[in-house]
């Protein structure tokens, strides 16, 4: 989630109100480190 390359997609998900989906994706990104 700290990778700036993922920020546009994160921002789009936030704008769409997809908070749960975003949180899940972030957890996957962090887990994949």
């Amino acid at each position: 989630m700290h990778n700036p390359g993922t920020w546009p997609k994160q921002s789009k998900m936030a704008a769409d109100g997809a908070w749960e989906q975003l949180k899940k994706w972030q957890d996957e990104l962090d887990g994949g480190k």
Partner: protein
């Protein structure tokens, strides 16, 4: 900048009187990409209903119910659920200036990753602000203007609890809200200090801090003077005490509390004071010594617990004469 999500963490407990004004100030932010993770800490007024109303109007407002009573559990819950790249705190009875979030994000994006962005604060109240709070506001804002907050870390809380922002990564690095020590805001300031964060002050008022007789910091025992002293000693002994002989300077209320605390921890110290009527007295089994005689002795670390402005100036002159170095040889605890 609009691609960066900011998470605003906000505990709420019975703030129905002020909550709408607070939420409206958040909705007026000129930065769009934020989420407000607001955790209701078992309110018994209509705070939860107000939060539901606003959440239905704007999906960025995300209310949760606390599962374990207290501001620290509320912050833990908020932090665990947040998705922002940057994180800040807000108090439910306060007001943000419209450019608060954007100003802080701007600072963080151009500085190193361990940066804490901090804005100036302004107290307001329906009943007027006491001299003490104005003094604290002036002192704090002066530190923020100079971005040198940590120089006074042992005096008072040097980071305004609802007016800082940092990256989620950095906050995690500093332990997030895992600590259970109160006052939680001062504890976090100490952890920012311990982890060598850099403060970047923003020279404009970004936060209006409401004062009223029943606010937590005035009535909650978690925020009593003694809890502050406990915290100061906890971090001093871990961060800045270099195992040289310790000296407590001052035998007033705070000096006595510090002495008691060190005795309880079985930490040896010498106790000195300027007051001729106290020199030679035995307090808690320790005999007070004359500061004039003691200060000539090198190789000590001084904890100074003297609040009086006049006496403080005399002590500072004395320390300067002997070339003692601040925050290495001596530490102002008042």
């Amino acid at each position: 900048m609009d691609q960066i999500i900011v998470s605003i963490l906000m505990p709420v407990y019975n703030e129905a009187d002020y909550l709408e004004e607070c939420l409206e100030s958040i909705l007026k932010q000129d930065l769009i990409t934020w989420e407000l993770i607001v955790v209701d800490d078992f309110s018994t007024d209509s705070s939860w209903e107000i939060l539901q109303y606003y959440a239905n109007k704007d999906h960025r407002i995300r209310p949760l119910k606390n599962t374990s009573k207290g501001i620290i559990p509320a912050l833990k819950k908020a932090f665990k659920n947040c998705v922002g790249t940057y994180v800040t705190r807000m108090d439910a009875d306060d007001i943000m200036s419209p450019d608060k979030l954007s100003s802080m994000v701007e600072v963080l994006t151009i500085n190193v990753e361990h940066t804490i962005a901090v804005g100036l604060v302004s107290y307001f109240s329906n009943d007027g602000i006491s001299d003490g709070y104005r003094k604290y506001e002036r002192w704090l804002n002066e530190l923020i203007r100079g971005s040198n907050n940590f120089i006074d870390i042992y005096k008072e809380c040097v980071i305004p609890s609802p007016c800082w922002m940092t990256s989620k990564y950095n906050l995690q690095r500093c332990g997030g809200f895992d600590s259970n020590r109160y006052p939680e805001d001062y504890d976090l300031a100490f952890r920012f200090y311990m982890h060598q964060c850099t403060v970047r002050g923003i020279p404009k008022v970004l936060h209006k801090w409401r004062d009223y007789p029943t606010r937590s910091s005035r009535v909650d025992p978690h925020y009593s003077d003694n809890r502050f002293l406990d915290l100061k000693l906890y971090y001093f002994l871990r961060k800045d005490w270099n195992k040289k002989p310790l000296v407590i300077w001052g035998a007033g209320k705070k000096g006595k509390y510090i002495a008691r605390n060190l005795l309880d921890q079985k930490v040896n110290f010498t106790w000195i004071c300027n007051n001729p009527s106290k020199i030679g007295r035995d307090i808690y089994g320790v005999v007070l010594e004359d500061s004039e005689a003691y200060i000539k002795s090198p190789n000590s670390q001084f904890i100074i617990a003297i609040a009086s402005k006049n006496t403080s100036s005399i002590i500072q002159e004395n320390l300067d004469v002997h070339a003692y170095i601040r925050n290495l040889d001596y530490f102002w605890f008042c």
